[in-house]
Structure formats: C-alpha cells, structure tokens
Amino acid sequence: MTSQLTDAGPATAPAAEAYAAGGDDERPPIGAPVVVLEDVHKHYPMGDQVVRALNGVSLELRRGQFWAIMGPSGSGKSTMLNLLGCLDRPTSGRYVLNNHDVSDMSDDELSDIRLRELGFIFQSFNLIPQLTVRENIELPLYYQGWPAAASLQRATETAERVGLGDRLGHRPAELSGGQQQRVAVARALASDPQVLLADEPTGNLDTSTGQMIMKLLSDLNGQGKTIILVTHEAEIAAWARGRIHMRDGGIERIEGDG
C-alpha cells in the first residue's frame, strides 16, 4: 500500500473553489504569525491546591511551519494543544490565532474559529462510525453550510488527495487503521483550514503506517499548511521542522526553526 498523495497541490474544482473563495484572500502570507501566545497560563484547581498545567507560555508560530511539541507525561502538552485548538480558554494571558484574539471568545465564537481556522487529527482517529467515509469528510463542510453538490465534490477531491478516492462509501469499521487516519486527515483538510493540529496521530498505528501518515502530513506542510503535532516519539518528531520541548507547564527549549 502506497500513499497516493498527489504532488500537484490542492486540485480544487471550480464549484468548490467558488464557494470556498473569499476566505483565501484574507490569509496572511507564508511566514506571517499564525499562533501568538503571550504569557499564557492554564490553572486547574485541585482541592485547595492549584495545578499549573501551563505556567506563563509565550510563543510565536508562523504560517507554513511544522512543529512537534514534546515533553514528558504531565508536562502540559495536551493542555497546550487544547488551548491552541480553541477547545479551551487560558486562565490568563493572550492567544491570537490568525489575527483573531480568541482569549475571551464565547463558546459559539470559539466553535466558529475551530470550524474555519483549524483541522484536528486525533490519536484514535475519532471517525463517526455510522457515517461513511464521504460523510465523515463532509462534516466540517456540513457545519459550514455548504450546498450538497459542492460539498460532495470537495469531499471526493479531498478523499482522492489522501489516496482514498475508492473508499468513499465505506464505513470506518471496514477500513484499516492507516486508512482511517487518512480519512481523519481528509476531514481535517476538507474545509481547507489554516492550521492542522494532531495529537499523537501515529500513536495507534504500526511503525510503517505511522511513517506513511507522517509523510502525508509532511507533504501537506510542503503545500503550505501549518502543522502542530504532539508526540513523545523522537522518530515522529523528526518529521517536523522544529521541536518545542516542554517541562512543568513551560517551554524548556526550542529546537529548529519550524
């Protein structure tokens, strides 16, 4: 089984492109800051103590970069990714994502930011079992309110992009782990977001399949996607162009330039 990723870049068809257009113009150019954290804290009250899961993190990540967040268990990687993914709000500090200050956004506004700016890839794929491959890929388009025809076309193209054009009608349970994770990547890509976030994306895959997924992500990064992934495996982190090492809720050191 080989990765069928096309090198020609996103082959967006006219209809889907027409619908998705407009958003593209507002995008900052390669190298513009996408993620800006300023002295971000995340504290969890635990009884009469406070767990400082993030303890004053400042960070600036730019468009088109590929970062791996590393660190021992409990160092705050997941907390960081949840914040970056707008699933959570910082206790204090400022987070600007793609020129949107999301620090104090309402739940609905955060949902909208996730919908338009971010794509998630999870360790356990998290496809919705009762939906087909195509319907899973269409989910973000569905919530963006795409018309059925454009949505179908985009889902088909995106599936082809990850080499699953012939699996559109299958259910997740009928696919291998690697295929499922490729569907998840396609779903994250479908609405063409700025940033992809991945939490241990190869954690549930064997080594060679994991390598294939990393190749896919690396290629996507080559096409301009900003990718931030969490991993504890050096071999996986090696695919990234920069590594952020965390310890005790802070950034210990940064390796590479993303």
């Binding site: 949840n82 993914g85 699933l87 959570d88 739940d107 609905d108 949902s111 909208d112 930011i113 996730r114 919908l115 338009r116 971010l118 998630f120 999870f122 998290n126 919705i128 079992p129 009762q130 989910l139 973000p140 919530y143 963006q144 309110g145 018309p147 059925a148 779903r187």
Partner: protein, 421 residues
C-alpha cells in the same frame, strides 16, 4: 435551501436511528401505544357521550316535560282501596301554561290510554295518546304516509287516528290502510297517517317511544273519560287522571330554566300534594355534558399517563444514546459544531421517534377503538380533535423528553467528551 438542509438533517437522524433498528422500534412502541390509547379512550368517551346527548336532545333542549305522579300512599288510605284516587295534571294547568307564560310557544297535552284495537282480522292492545296538533310541532317526526293531526281535528267528533310505524306494525297496517277504519275500544277511527317514531333505549324516555297511535284529545276525553283502570298485584284500581303529561316548548334556550321555575311555582300552588314532576332536558343535557367532561378527562389522563411512560422511554434511550456517543459529540464540537447544532441533531432524532410513533399510533388508535366497540358494544367515535391532539402530543413529547438529553449532549465539555472511552 433551508428545506433541503432540514431534509438532510432528518435523513441523517433517520440513518442514525436505523443503526439500532430494534432499539428504535421498541422506543417508538411506547409512543405508539400512548397515542393509540389516547385516541381510543377519546373515541370511547365521545361515542358514549354522543349517544347520551343525542337521547337528551331528542327530548328537545327548549322543552320542559311535566308528568303526573301518583302520590305515595298514606297508611290511613289502606282501608279505602275502593276509593277512586284522583291525581295529576289538569286540563286547566295546560291552558294556564299555554296562555299565561310569556316565553311558552306551545304545549302538547298528553292523555295516555291502553285499548285493544282491531284492523281486519288483526287485533292487539295499543298504547294510544290523546293529544293536539301541537304534538307534531313539538315532536317532529317524518311522516311515512298520509298526514298528522291538524287543528281541524280538534273536536269531539273527529274520529281519526295517526299510527306510529310501531303501532302500524302491530296491526299490520300499511300505506294502503290510510283511509280505512280501525277499531279502538268501542269506536271506529279513520287512519289518516303513519309517522316514524323513536325507539328509546336506556333510561331517558323519549316522548314518542312506546306510542302506537295518536287520536285528538277531545275525542279521547269524550270516548275514554278521565277514569283509568290500573291493574296491579292482581287487584284492580280505578283512578282519575286528566292529563298524564304536558310537554311545554319555550321560545329560547335562555328562558327554559326561568320558565320551568315559574311553572313549578304555579304547579306547587295548585298541587300541594306534589302529584306531578318536572323535567328540564336542558338541565339534563348540561349535567350530562358536565359528566362527560369529567369522564373524558379521566380517560384522557389515563391515556396521558401511558404517553408519559412512552416519553420517559424515549428520554431514557436518548440519554443512553448521548452517553454512547459522547466521543462523537466531542468530535463534532472539535470540528466546529455549535451547541445548538448538537441540540438540534439530538432533538431531530427524538422528534423522529416520537413523530413516527405518533403516526403509527394515529393509525392504530381507530383500530383499537373499533376493537373495543366490537368487543364491548360501546359505540365509539374518533373525533377529529383527538387526531390533532395526538399529533400535538407526540411532537410535544418528543420535544419535552428530547430536550434534556440533547442539552446534556451539547453541554458536554468537548475536551472531556473526546477523552471518553
């Protein structure tokens, strides 16, 4: 566009429900039986009430019925059995009511006579009523043949008779009998018409139930006098009664009760021994309607409880479904679904369950009512409002019992939901 989206949402909901066909069907069953029993109960209630109300309406809601009542025997009367007992309504009462009460349109005096009658070879005892032409205005019934009593028949020598179809059957009279004579008691009467009559059932007495023939009141007075022989417990009792009944028609429903009260005052004055009774169908109607309302509410609450149980069943399943699909909810939220989109996803599913259950219930309800009717003989009528009510109820049940599970799904913390096993 919006419609297409709704269609898509409903399709997706249906697809999810079809993943667990048995579970969805069992969940729906609760609503099916709830709605079906609401409809069946209302149909039973409606059928019973319509029957009772129809019977009362036959008395006429703008009528007042007066009856002669034999006074209860006093102990000292025992020894004087031979004395002729005189009681009841007088001709004079009828005239006063007809002439002196503002809202009275007309009155029908009734004298009841039992006499042997003969037509050709056929003879039978008949229940004959002596009355006036007003009767036929007060108790209008289709005329099968000939004509009814008219004003010109109201004299002592007009020996004519109108048969009811019941009486006609007894004497084997037909349309050809019109113009022929029958013998009643010792006299001959020309048959001038045959009218339909209502056969009463149940406790409400319809004026013309068990009447075989009508003759003019003046003739009845002349021929049969006011003396009647009553056979009871082997002994013969002679009594004198002028009128057995008076039916009074009032010009408007509004005045029925006040007129009845005024008549009652007058009668109380003239009949200190209380040898009469007064019956106001309008009051009976009101009582019956009130009873019906109570009965309907009782039935509906019983049925409503089963619907409630059905709703709780739906809620239970949806809560289980929310727990089962916690991760799905987390994924959808992470992708960018807003809380209200999660709410609507789950609400659509419950509404589908409740709505489909309701529709099946609406189909089953009337069948259930039919079954009850054929098994118990209680007439049932499925009222339109029962169907509308059921549609409303099943939608309400869907929303009411779906809202909580849906809200619970939407309010899950996406981070926690994503970590759920």
């Amino acid at each position: 566009m919006a419609l297409m989206k709704i269609v898509r949402d409903v399709k997706l909901g249906a697809k999810t429900l079809l993943l667990h066909k048995l579970r969805s069907m069992l969940t729906m069953l609760g609503v099916v039986f709830g709605v079906a029993s609401v409809i069946a109960m209302l149909a039973v209630g409606e059928g019973a009430s319509r029957e009772a109300l129809d019977r009362i309406r036959m008395l006429g809601s703008d009528n007042i019925m007066l009856h002669s009542v034999k006074p209860t025997e006093q102990p000292e009367d025992r020894g004087q059995r031979q004395r002729i007992l005189s009681y009841g309504l007088h001709y004079e009462d009828e005239r006063r009511i007809r002439e002196h009460f503002e809202h009275v349109v007309r009155t029908a005096p009734v004298k009841e006579i039992r006499q042997d009658a003969r037509l050709g070879e056929r003879s039978h005892e008949l229940r004959v009523i002596g009355t006036t032409w007003a009767w036929f205005a007060l108790v209008p019934r289709p005329v099968i043949a000939g004509r009814v009593l008219a004003e010109r028949d109201m004299d002592q020598t007009s020996n004519v008779v109108v048969l009811t179809e019941h009486g006609a059957r007894r004497l084997l009279a037909t349309e050809q009998t019109i113009g022929n004579r029958i013998r009643i008691g010792d006299g001959y009467y020309e048959v001038i018409g045959i009218v339909q009559n209502e056969e009463a059932s149940g406790e409400t007495q319809i004026p013309d139930s068990r009447v075989d023939a009508y003759i003019p009141l003046p003739v009845a007075r002349e021929r049969f006098t006011d003396f009647h022989v009553r056979r009871s417990a082997g002994s013969m009792e002679r009594e004198r009664v002028e009128l057995h009944r008076i039916i009074v028609q009032v010009n408007d429903n509004e005045h029925v009760e006040s007129t009845a009260a005024a008549i009652e005052r007058m009668l109380a004055n003239n009949h200190p021994n209380g040898d009469y009774s007064i019956q106001v169908p309008l009051q009976l109607l009101r009582q019956a309607e009130e009873q019906q309302r109570i009965w309907n509410w009782t039935l509906a609450s019983v049925a409503g409880i089963s619907l409630l149980v059905g709703g709780i069943g739906i809620m239970n399943i949806m809560l289980a479904s929310v727990t089962e699909r916690t991760r799905e909810i987390g994924v959808r939220r992470a992708i960018g679904a807003k809380k209200r989109q999660i709410v609507s996803q789950f609400l659509i599913e419950t509404l589908l369950l409740a709505g489909l259950g309701g529709l099946v219930g609406i189909a089953v309800g009337p069948l259930l009512a039919d079954r009850i009717e054929s098994l118990s003989g209680i007439p049932t009528i499925v009222p339109t409002y029962a169907i509308l009510l059921s549609v409303g109820i099943s939608v309400t049940v869907g929303v009411a019992f779906g809202l909580y599970p849906a809200a619970r799904a939407a309010n899950l913390d996406p981070i926690v939901a994503l970590r759920h096993e």
